[in-house]
């Protein structure tokens, strides 16, 4: 969810529009920076096998396991860097780890 921001810094802004010296006026704008395209491997979630233990959510260093009402709902591929930490620790075989096409 992208919050209302004072300024949305985007790469098409001119020098006149950008904040002086690169000042960041809004907390949490790292969300705008799509790091997902760095990925060479991707985790794939198998809904049927998932027990919603949320240990993958605990270990993900990029906050990319999406959860609603205490249940896993998917993976945020915009930010998931494909490190494989979640897939390695899942005890239920609910996360596959496959090469990016």
């Amino acid at each position: 969810m992208i919050k209302e921001r004072k300024v949305n810094i985007t790469p098409d802004m001119t020098w006149r529009e950008l904040t002086p010296g690169g000042v960041i006026q809004d907390a949490g704008n790292a969300e705008d920076f799509k790091t997902g395209d760095w990925r060479s491997m991707r985790p794939v979630w198998n809904t049927e096998k998932c027990k919603h233990c949320l240990l993958c959510w605990v270990v993900c260093p990029d906050n990319s396991i999406k959860v609603e009402d205490g249940k896993m709902t998917g993976i945020d591929y915009d930010h998931c860097k494909g490190c494989g930490v979640c897939t390695a620790q899942c005890k239920f075989g609910a996360l596959d780890y496959v090469p990016e096409e």
């Binding site: 802004m13 006149r16 010296g21 690169g22 960041i24």
Partner: protein, 392 residues
Amino acid sequence: MAKRVSLSGNEAVAQAMRQINPDVVAAFPITPSTEIPQYFSQFVANGQVTTEFVPVESEHSAMSACIGAAAAGGRVMTATSANGLALMWEMLYIAASSRLPITLAAVNRALSGPINIHNDHSDTMGARDSGWIQLYGENAQEAYDNFIMAVKIGEHPDVQLPVMDCFDGFITSHAVENLEMLEDEEVKAFVGENRVAPYALIGQEPVSMGPLDLPPYYFEHKRQQAEAMKNAKRVILEVAAEFEKLTGRKYGLFEEYRMEDAEAAIVILNSSAGTAKAVVDSLRAEGKKVGLIKIRVFRPFPAEELAEALSKVKAVAVMDKADSFSAAGGPVFTEVRSAMYGRADGKIVVSYIYGLGGRDVTTNQIEKVYNDLFSAIETGKYEVYNYVGVRE
């Protein structure tokens, strides 16, 4: 009401700091600037200011502390010289690119090596591309005045850049001169009670500063910085006009001394301008058409204005108290000559390096430079790159 006082340049600047009463002063002692934080720490100890004085362990830390305090929204000051300025180097660029208006009394001293504590301009000339505004002053009065104006220039919304108040070590910093000091209230009213920071790390709307700035953004931020430096030229003149109303003392981008019909001119900075003015007067008394330009604002560089001021002379000697080792003249020379290209063509423009490491600059040396210019005008023969005052 202004009062007449006898102070050294360092004392005068420390007094200006006291009158401004900044939020933070972070400094490390180095000759010949040491007295500034020394006097100022006494004002702190005596309760004459409410400033947080941070005695740090190095100049790198001094500038880092200044950056942190300015990023928090504070009005911040420091002082240094030569190797101290060199140790600040990395942080100078960060202060400027983070758009933090810090005021630095830069007491000019030769940058080692060989180690030398006396005056030349190799320290601040080296920092000329760090993104700081640089003001140069001839004497204690100008050091004091420029320091007060520096605060207002740097903090202007269209500028937001740090400023160096440069003046000559020992010659100006330690010699006691008569000068006019403003009243404390006048100074406070002139600079404003507090800095109004557009962004700060603390307060109601805290921001992050100094983020990693990769290729999609870095260039734009540098372009902003360049624009701020362009704006500074206008703001420096506006602040000078306001200062003149208050004090009657007139400041521009540079001072023109007897330039009206001058055929031979010297361009020079800081205290040696005083020596050179005496030579101008004596040569004028002999009927020789000589003049002088003393650059006050080196960053931003007043290129068009200087070219205009030099458009009527026949020959110019640009005198540098620093060698940039480009093997193509001193730093002020290369910029002045480049400023004249296409604007004031067909002149004889020569470089003289002088006074390195505190070598005395005498009226005879300056007179020799004017004589060289006249012989160049007459014969058309001259050397472009010259040294004066060195044993040949």
